[in-house]
Symmetry: C2
Subunit: 341 residues, 2 copies
DNA sequence: CTGTTAGCGCATTCAC
DNA sequence: GTGAATGCGCTAACAG
C-alpha cells in the first residue's frame, strides 16, 4: 500500500514537504489548493513529496490562519445510554456531516454543574456552535448573546429565560391524545407514572394527561398519580402501589419509557388486564402481547432538525447570526396501538 | 448575570484584553495561568477586563503554540443507532473525560469508504488518537505505523493485517457456551441465524456454535443455518423458513440481537415451544415470557477498555508510543437464562 | 514583576 | 509561475 514512508514521529509540516521537493512552502500550499498557477513539474514533485512524507495538512493551523472556526459543533446530552439520545445524536451527526461539520460529544449524566463545565470547555475549543439537551433549569450559561457568542440550539427541553433556538417533541399533545384514547376505551380510573415535575418534558406530559381527563369530564385523582420514578425498578414499585389500592386504576399512563417498562412488569404479575399507555415507543412493544398504546416520535428527526437550525445560524452572515429570530420547532407525535387486535 | 458585556461579534483575543487592561498580552497570559509573578493590581485589572469582554482563551491557538495536539480523540462507529455502539461510545466518553480528552464522533453506517474518508479528516484535524469499529476488512488505512502516525484502537472487531490494539468480546466463547446450554437441555436440532460471514463477530459466533455442536457429537445440518439477515424483518423471515421445514429445529441460536428479535416474532406465531438463545442481552428479555438464553456482556466496559488502551499509548513517551507491544483485550461474556423458571 | 522577541503551521497579500 | 514577507492567537525564553 503506502510504500513504507519513514513513519515520521512528528507529523510532517508543509515546510518539510517543501524542502523535500526543493520548492517553497508557498508552492506546496498552492498545489494543495489546486491552484492552477503551478508548473506541472513542480506539482508532480510536490505530490511525490507529500506521498513520501505522508504529509497531511494541519487543519487546526489552517483554520487559525483563515480566521475560520473549528468546523466542530458540540453536542451535549444528558445520557447517551438512553436510546432516545443516541438516536438524537445520530440525527445530529448526519446533518453535521452533510455540512462538513464534525461533532464533539459530551455526556452530562444529568449533572447541571458538569454541563456548565463542558460548555465552557467547548467554547474554549472554539466550536462553531452547540446543541445541548440541558440538564438543569438555569440556562444563562447557554445564552448565545452572553460572553462566548456561540450559537446554541436546545434539544428536547425549551429554554428557561434566554432566547435560544430549540427543537421539542409535542409532549403535551402526545400525552393528551394517548390519555384521551384510554378514556375513549372506557377507562374512568387512569393512573399516572412519571418523572419528577422538575423535568420539563414530564411536566408537559402530565399537563397533557390532566387536560385530557378534564376534557372527558373526569376528575384527577391524586392517589393515582406517582411522579418520582427515575428508574425501571422504582417505576415497577410505584405501579404496584397503584394496583394494590382498594379501587385500583384500570389503566395507566406512563410518561416515559422507563416508567412504561416498570409498569409492564408490575401489571403482568398483579393485574394483567390493566391497559397501558406510555410516552416513547420501544422495540418489542408489539411482541409483548400486552394491550399497549404508545406515543411515538422520531428522535433522529429531532436531532436532524436541531442540527438544521444550527447550520442555518452558522451560515448566516457572521455579524447577524445572533440577531435572527429565535425559533422553536415542535416535532409531532403519533399514537400507536399494539396488541389490541 | 453577566452584566451585559458588549456581546463581541468576533470573540475577544488576548490582545483585546491586554489593551482594555492597559497591560501587555504576556501579563494576561500569566494571569490566565495563575502565574504568581503578577502584581495583585494587574491581576485584578486583567480579570476585570476578561469579564467585561467575555474573553475565553482560544485553546486551538494555544495548542498550536504549545506543539501539543488537539486533546481530541476520534471515535468512529458503524451504527450509533445500535444500543451496543451507543453504550460503547458512552464508555469511551467517560474515560476520555477523566483524562481531559474530548471525543469527536463519527458514524460510518457500515460504509468502508466513508470510514476511510472520516479517518483521513480526523487525522487532518490532528486528533491525538482514534478508536474505530472498522466497517471493512481492509485496515491498512488504520495502521498507526503508516503515514499519519496516530495511535488507533479497534473496538469489537480485530485488526486484519496491521498490528493494532484491539478490545474484543469473547464472541467465540459466548456462542459456544450458549449453544452448549441448548444441547444440554436436550436439543439435537439447533438452527443458526446470523449476519453474513464477512462480519467478523458473527463468523466467530458461528464458529463457537459449530464447536459446541461438535463437542456434543451432533452433526452440523446446513439446512438449519441462515447467515444473511441484517434486519429484524429479514431475520423473522429466515426463522420462519427454518420453522416450516418438515423436521424443524427445536432450538435456535441467534448470533445478534436483530436476529434474536426476528426469531422471537417468528416462533411466537409458528412454534412457541421453540427454545431460543441469542448473542446480546436486551431490555425486556425477562418480560417476554419466552424461554430465552442470552449471551450478555457490558458494551460500556468495552468502550472503557478501548479508551484505556488509547490513553496508555498517548501517555507513553511520544517517540516510543508506537513501539509498545500490540495488545488485545477480550471482554468476557456471561450466559443468562430468562423465563425458564 | 513586566514587556519584547520569536515562532507553532498555514495562507493571504504583494512583489519578482 | 514563484517566493518573501506578514500575521492568525497564543506562549516559552529571554531580557529589563
Amino acid at each position: 500500500m503506502d510504500e513504507g514512508g519513514p513513519a515520521p514521529r512528528r507529523p510532517a509540516t508543509m515546510r518539510d514537504v517543501a524542502e523535500y521537493a526543493s520548492v517553497s512552502p508557498m508552492t506546496v500550499s498552492r498545489v494543495l489548493h489546486d491552484d492552477p498557477r503551478v508548473s506541472p513539474v513542480n506539482r508532480e514533485r510536490v505530490l511525490a513529496a507529500v506521498k513520501a512524507l505522508g504529509y497531511r495538512r494541519n487543519e487546526v493551523a489552517r483554520n487559525l490562519r483563515l480566521g475560520r472556526t473549528s468546523g466542530l459543533i458540540g453536542l451535549v446530552v444528558t445520557n447517551l445510554a438512553n436510546p432516545f439520545y443516541s438516536q438524537f445524536a445520530l440525527g445530529v451527526e448526519s446533518v453535521a456531516g452533510e455540512n462538513d461539520l464534525k461533532v464533539v460529544l459530551a455526556n452530562t449524566d444529568e449533572d447541571a454543574e458538569r454541563e456548565r463545565q463542558l460548555v465552557k470547555e467547548l467554547i474554549a475549543r472554539r466550536v462553531d456552535g452547540m446543541i445541548v439537551v440541558p440538564a438543569g433549569s438555569d440556562h444563562a450559561h447557554l445564552d448565545p448573546k452572553a460572553a462566548g457568542s456561540v450559537p446554541v440550539v436546545l434539544g428536547a427541553r425549551p429554554p428557561a429565560g434566554p432566547e435560544i433556538d430549540s427543537v421539542l417533541v409535542d409532549d403535551f399533545g402526545g400525552a393528551r391524545e394517548a390519555t384521551a384514547a384510554l378514556v375513549a376505551a372506557g377507562h374512568t380510573r387512569v393512573g399516572f407514572l412519571g418523572l419528577p415535575p422538575s423535568v420539563w418534558t414530564s411536566a408537559e406530559r402530565f399537563r397533557g394527561f390532566c387536560v385530557a381527563l378534564e376534557e372527558a369530564g373526569l376528575p384527577l385523582d391524586e392517589r393515582y398519580v406517582r411522579r418520582q420514578q427515575r428508574t425501571i425498578p422504582a417505576a415497577e414499585e410505584a405501579a404496584r402501589d397503584l394496583l394494590r389500592l382498594r379501587r385500583p386504576p384500570t389503566a395507566l399512563f406512563c410518561a416515559n419509557s422507563r416508567n412504561t417498562l416498570g409498569a409492564i412488569r408490575a401489571t403482568r404479575q398483579l393485574a394483567p388486564e390493566t391497559t397501558l399507555a406510555g410516552f416513547d415507543d420501544f422495540e418489542l412493544a408489539d411482541v409483548l402481547g400486552v394491550p399497549l398504546i404508545v406515543v411515538a416520535y422520531d428522535p433522529r428527526e429531532l436531532g436532524r432538525q436541531a442540527a438544521g437550525l444550527l447550520v442555518q445560524r452558522l451560515s448566516a452572515p457572521a455579524d447577524r447570526a445572533l440577531d435572527l429570530l429565535t425559533r422553536r420547532i415542535v416535532v409531532p407525535t403519533k399514537v400507536v396501538r399494539y396488541g389490541m387486535s
